[in-house]
Protein backbone atom coordinates (compact mmCIF):
# COMPACT_ATOMS: atom_id res chain seq x y z
CA UNK A 1 0.00 0.00 0.00
CA UNK A 2 1.42 3.34 -1.01
CA UNK A 3 1.81 6.10 1.53
CA UNK A 4 -1.40 8.12 1.84
CA UNK A 5 0.39 11.36 2.71
CA UNK A 6 3.79 11.54 1.00
CA UNK A 7 4.90 14.35 3.33
CA UNK A 8 4.31 12.60 6.64
CA UNK A 9 7.33 13.12 8.88
CA UNK A 10 7.25 9.79 10.69
CA UNK A 11 7.12 7.83 7.45
CA UNK A 12 10.29 9.39 6.11
CA UNK A 13 13.53 7.49 6.00
CA UNK A 14 15.49 10.73 5.97
CA UNK A 15 14.04 11.73 9.33
CA UNK A 16 14.72 8.32 10.84
CA UNK A 17 18.37 8.73 9.85
CA UNK A 18 18.44 12.32 11.09
CA UNK A 19 16.92 11.38 14.45
CA UNK A 20 19.19 8.34 14.90
CA UNK A 21 22.24 10.48 14.20
CA UNK A 22 21.26 12.96 16.91
CA UNK A 23 20.54 10.10 19.31
CA UNK A 24 24.04 8.74 18.70
CA UNK A 25 25.56 12.15 19.33
CA UNK A 26 23.63 12.47 22.59
CA UNK A 27 24.64 8.94 23.56
CA UNK A 28 28.32 9.56 22.87
CA UNK A 29 28.56 12.91 24.58
CA UNK A 30 28.81 11.70 28.20
CA UNK A 31 30.93 8.70 27.14
CA UNK A 32 33.42 10.99 25.40
CA UNK A 33 33.74 13.37 28.34
CA UNK A 34 36.55 11.29 29.83
CA UNK A 35 38.46 11.95 26.59
CA UNK A 36 37.34 15.58 26.40
CA UNK A 37 36.42 15.00 22.76
CA UNK A 38 33.36 15.89 20.74
CA UNK A 39 31.96 13.20 18.49
CA UNK A 40 33.52 14.55 15.26
CA UNK A 41 36.84 14.91 17.07
CA UNK A 42 36.51 11.27 18.14
CA UNK A 43 36.01 10.31 14.49
CA UNK A 44 39.23 12.12 13.60
CA UNK A 45 41.11 10.08 16.16
CA UNK A 46 39.58 6.83 14.93
CA UNK A 47 41.14 7.62 11.57
CA UNK A 48 44.46 8.77 13.00
CA UNK A 49 44.86 5.70 15.21
CA UNK A 50 44.48 3.66 12.04
CA UNK A 51 46.44 5.94 9.73
CA UNK A 52 48.89 8.28 11.38
CA UNK A 53 50.34 10.92 9.08
CA UNK A 54 47.24 11.12 6.89
CA UNK A 55 46.71 14.28 4.83
CA UNK A 56 43.89 16.71 5.55
CA UNK A 57 42.37 15.83 2.19
CA UNK A 58 42.39 12.08 2.79
CA UNK A 59 40.95 12.58 6.27
CA UNK A 60 38.15 14.66 4.80
CA UNK A 61 37.44 12.00 2.19
CA UNK A 62 37.23 9.28 4.82
CA UNK A 63 34.85 11.27 7.02
CA UNK A 64 32.94 12.92 4.12
CA UNK A 65 33.85 16.37 5.40
CA UNK A 66 35.39 19.28 3.53
CA UNK A 67 38.28 21.52 4.46
CA UNK A 68 35.98 24.16 5.90
CA UNK A 69 35.06 21.68 8.61
CA UNK A 70 38.30 19.72 8.97
CA UNK A 71 40.72 22.62 9.17
CA UNK A 72 39.34 24.35 12.28
CA UNK A 73 38.49 21.01 13.89
CA UNK A 74 42.06 19.77 13.56
CA UNK A 75 43.45 23.12 14.65
CA UNK A 76 41.59 22.90 17.93
CA UNK A 77 43.09 19.47 18.52
CA UNK A 78 46.54 20.77 17.67
CA UNK A 79 46.09 23.65 20.13
CA UNK A 80 45.47 21.04 22.82
CA UNK A 81 48.66 19.19 21.92
CA UNK A 82 46.92 16.00 20.78
CA UNK A 83 48.34 16.17 17.26
CA UNK A 84 50.73 18.09 15.04
CA UNK A 85 50.19 19.48 11.53
CA UNK A 86 53.10 19.50 9.12
CA UNK A 87 53.36 20.40 5.48
CA UNK A 88 54.45 17.52 3.25
CA UNK A 89 58.03 18.04 2.03
CA UNK A 90 57.45 16.33 -1.33
CA UNK A 91 54.14 18.11 -2.05
CA UNK A 92 53.84 21.33 -0.14
CA UNK A 93 50.16 21.73 -0.96
CA UNK A 94 49.41 18.91 1.43
CA UNK A 95 49.33 19.06 5.21
CA UNK A 96 49.89 15.84 7.10
CA UNK A 97 48.57 15.17 10.58
CA UNK A 98 50.68 13.32 13.12
CA UNK A 99 49.62 12.12 16.55
CA UNK A 100 51.56 13.30 19.56
CA UNK A 101 52.32 10.91 22.39
CA UNK A 102 49.34 12.34 24.21
CA UNK A 103 47.09 11.80 21.22
CA UNK A 104 48.24 8.20 20.89
CA UNK A 105 47.64 7.64 24.60
CA UNK A 106 43.98 8.63 24.24
CA UNK A 107 43.35 5.36 22.47
CA UNK A 108 43.41 3.37 25.72
CA UNK A 109 40.60 5.40 27.24
CA UNK A 110 38.67 5.23 23.96
CA UNK A 111 38.39 1.45 24.11
CA UNK A 112 35.61 1.79 26.68
CA UNK A 113 33.40 3.66 24.22
CA UNK A 114 32.48 0.89 21.74
CA UNK A 115 31.89 -1.39 24.71
CA UNK A 116 29.24 1.00 25.98
CA UNK A 117 27.60 1.03 22.55
CA UNK A 118 27.54 -2.74 22.40
CA UNK A 119 25.97 -2.86 25.83
CA UNK A 120 23.30 -0.30 24.92
CA UNK A 121 22.31 -2.11 21.75
CA UNK A 122 22.47 -5.62 23.14
CA UNK A 123 22.43 -8.64 20.88
CA UNK A 124 25.45 -10.25 19.28
CA UNK A 125 26.11 -7.43 16.86
CA UNK A 126 24.72 -9.26 13.85
CA UNK A 127 21.66 -7.03 13.60
CA UNK A 128 23.89 -3.98 13.99
CA UNK A 129 26.12 -5.29 11.21
CA UNK A 130 23.16 -5.71 8.85
CA UNK A 131 21.92 -2.24 9.66
CA UNK A 132 25.38 -0.82 9.06
CA UNK A 133 25.50 -2.42 5.62
CA UNK A 134 22.04 -1.14 4.73
CA UNK A 135 23.13 2.35 5.66
CA UNK A 136 26.28 1.97 3.61
CA UNK A 137 24.22 1.04 0.54
CA UNK A 138 21.83 3.90 1.26
CA UNK A 139 24.69 6.38 1.36
CA UNK A 140 26.04 5.08 -1.93
CA UNK A 141 22.65 5.37 -3.62
CA UNK A 142 22.18 8.91 -2.35
CA UNK A 143 25.66 10.00 -3.35
CA UNK A 144 25.27 8.42 -6.78
CA UNK A 145 22.06 10.38 -7.33
CA UNK A 146 23.54 13.56 -5.92
CA UNK A 147 26.04 13.76 -8.74
CA UNK A 148 23.41 13.57 -11.44
Amino acid sequence: MAQADPLKLDSMLCFAVYAAEHAFTRFYKPRLEALELTYPQYLVFLVLWETDGITVKALGDKLFLDSGTITPLVKRLEARGLLRRERDKQDERQVRIYLTEEGRALREKALAVPLAVGKALGGDGEAAGMLRESLHRLREQLDASSDS
Copy 2:
Protein backbone atom coordinates in the same frame (compact mmCIF):
# COMPACT_ATOMS: atom_id res chain seq x y z
CA MET B 1 33.39 -13.49 14.87
CA ALA B 2 34.09 -10.57 17.13
CA GLN B 3 35.66 -7.44 15.73
CA ALA B 4 39.45 -7.64 15.81
CA ASP B 5 39.92 -3.90 16.23
CA PRO B 6 37.07 -2.40 18.25
CA LEU B 7 38.00 1.11 17.12
CA LYS B 8 37.84 0.53 13.37
CA LEU B 9 35.92 3.38 11.76
CA ASP B 10 34.30 1.42 8.96
CA SER B 11 32.94 -1.21 11.32
CA MET B 12 31.09 1.32 13.40
CA LEU B 13 27.34 1.67 13.22
CA CYS B 14 27.57 5.21 14.53
CA PHE B 15 29.68 6.27 11.58
CA ALA B 16 27.37 4.59 9.09
CA VAL B 17 24.51 6.63 10.54
CA TYR B 18 26.62 9.79 10.58
CA ALA B 19 27.68 9.35 6.96
CA ALA B 20 24.17 8.48 5.77
CA GLU B 21 22.79 11.59 7.46
CA HIS B 22 25.29 13.80 5.64
CA ALA B 23 24.50 12.04 2.36
CA PHE B 24 20.80 12.77 2.86
CA THR B 25 21.56 16.42 3.56
CA ARG B 26 23.66 16.65 0.40
CA PHE B 27 20.93 14.89 -1.57
CA TYR B 28 18.19 17.19 -0.31
CA LYS B 29 20.07 20.43 -0.76
CA PRO B 30 19.56 20.89 -4.52
CA ARG B 31 16.01 19.47 -4.29
CA LEU B 32 15.07 22.01 -1.63
CA GLU B 33 16.46 24.96 -3.56
CA ALA B 34 13.13 25.45 -5.34
CA LEU B 35 11.60 25.95 -1.88
CA GLU B 36 14.55 28.01 -0.64
CA LEU B 37 14.62 25.85 2.48
CA THR B 38 17.42 24.11 4.33
CA TYR B 39 16.82 20.55 5.40
CA PRO B 40 15.99 21.38 9.05
CA GLN B 41 13.64 24.11 7.83
CA TYR B 42 11.96 21.52 5.60
CA LEU B 43 11.45 19.29 8.65
CA VAL B 44 9.75 22.18 10.44
CA PHE B 45 7.31 22.55 7.56
CA LEU B 46 6.60 18.83 7.48
CA VAL B 47 5.43 19.19 11.07
CA LEU B 48 3.50 22.41 10.46
CA TRP B 49 1.67 21.05 7.43
CA GLU B 50 0.50 18.23 9.69
CA THR B 51 -0.05 20.29 12.85
CA ASP B 52 -0.58 24.00 12.33
CA GLY B 53 -0.49 26.07 15.52
CA ILE B 54 1.94 23.75 17.30
CA THR B 55 3.97 25.15 20.20
CA VAL B 56 7.72 25.64 20.01
CA LYS B 57 8.14 23.01 22.71
CA ALA B 58 6.05 20.37 20.92
CA LEU B 59 7.85 21.10 17.66
CA GLY B 60 11.18 20.58 19.39
CA ASP B 61 9.98 17.31 20.90
CA LYS B 62 8.88 16.01 17.51
CA LEU B 63 12.19 16.89 15.85
CA PHE B 64 14.40 16.11 18.88
CA LEU B 65 15.72 19.66 18.92
CA ASP B 66 15.92 22.12 21.80
CA SER B 67 14.91 25.76 22.00
CA GLY B 68 18.43 26.94 21.23
CA THR B 69 18.05 25.44 17.78
CA ILE B 70 14.34 25.91 17.16
CA THR B 71 14.01 29.54 18.19
CA PRO B 72 16.43 31.11 15.69
CA LEU B 73 15.40 28.64 12.99
CA VAL B 74 11.73 29.60 13.28
CA LYS B 75 12.59 33.28 13.53
CA ARG B 76 14.31 33.14 10.16
CA LEU B 77 11.20 31.59 8.63
CA GLU B 78 9.02 34.23 10.25
CA ALA B 79 11.25 36.98 8.84
CA ARG B 80 10.56 35.54 5.39
CA GLY B 81 6.81 35.64 5.97
CA LEU B 82 6.32 31.87 5.81
CA LEU B 83 4.90 31.62 9.31
CA ARG B 84 3.81 33.68 12.28
CA ARG B 85 4.69 33.27 15.98
CA GLU B 86 2.09 34.13 18.57
CA ARG B 87 2.01 33.76 22.31
CA ASP B 88 -0.73 31.46 23.59
CA LYS B 89 -3.48 33.48 25.31
CA GLN B 90 -4.27 30.75 27.84
CA ASP B 91 -0.63 30.02 28.74
CA GLU B 92 1.61 32.92 27.93
CA ARG B 93 4.76 30.87 28.44
CA GLN B 94 4.04 29.08 25.20
CA VAL B 95 4.57 30.39 21.68
CA ARG B 96 2.46 28.89 18.93
CA ILE B 97 3.50 28.77 15.30
CA TYR B 98 0.98 29.40 12.54
CA LEU B 99 1.52 29.03 8.81
CA THR B 100 0.87 32.01 6.58
CA GLU B 101 -0.82 31.56 3.23
CA GLU B 102 2.63 31.59 1.65
CA GLY B 103 3.86 28.91 4.04
CA ARG B 104 0.87 26.72 3.28
CA ALA B 105 1.42 27.20 -0.45
CA LEU B 106 4.95 25.78 -0.19
CA ARG B 107 3.44 22.34 0.30
CA GLU B 108 2.61 21.98 -3.39
CA LYS B 109 6.22 22.44 -4.42
CA ALA B 110 7.37 20.13 -1.63
CA LEU B 111 5.48 17.17 -3.07
CA ALA B 112 8.22 16.72 -5.66
CA VAL B 113 10.84 16.06 -2.99
CA PRO B 114 9.78 12.62 -1.68
CA LEU B 115 9.29 11.56 -5.30
CA ALA B 116 12.95 12.31 -5.97
CA VAL B 117 13.95 10.26 -2.94
CA GLY B 118 11.85 7.32 -4.07
CA LYS B 119 13.43 7.50 -7.50
CA ALA B 120 16.97 7.63 -6.07
CA LEU B 121 16.43 4.64 -3.81
CA GLY B 122 14.49 2.54 -6.30
CA GLY B 123 12.54 -0.53 -5.19
CA ASP B 124 9.00 -0.57 -3.91
CA GLY B 125 9.81 1.15 -0.64
CA GLU B 126 9.61 -2.02 1.43
CA ALA B 127 13.34 -2.17 2.10
CA ALA B 128 13.27 1.52 2.99
CA GLY B 129 10.41 0.87 5.38
CA MET B 130 12.32 -1.90 7.14
CA LEU B 131 15.39 0.29 7.40
CA ARG B 132 13.30 3.10 8.82
CA GLU B 133 11.93 0.80 11.52
CA SER B 134 15.40 -0.49 12.40
CA LEU B 135 16.58 3.09 12.82
CA HIS B 136 13.56 3.88 14.94
CA ARG B 137 14.39 1.01 17.29
CA LEU B 138 18.03 2.05 17.34
CA ARG B 139 17.09 5.57 18.36
CA GLU B 140 14.89 4.25 21.16
CA GLN B 141 17.66 2.00 22.48
CA LEU B 142 20.17 4.83 22.43
CA ASP B 143 17.82 7.29 24.09
CA ALA B 144 16.86 4.73 26.73
CA SER B 145 20.55 4.22 27.57
CA SER B 146 21.27 7.92 27.48
CA ASP B 147 19.00 8.53 30.43
CA SER B 148 20.75 5.99 32.61
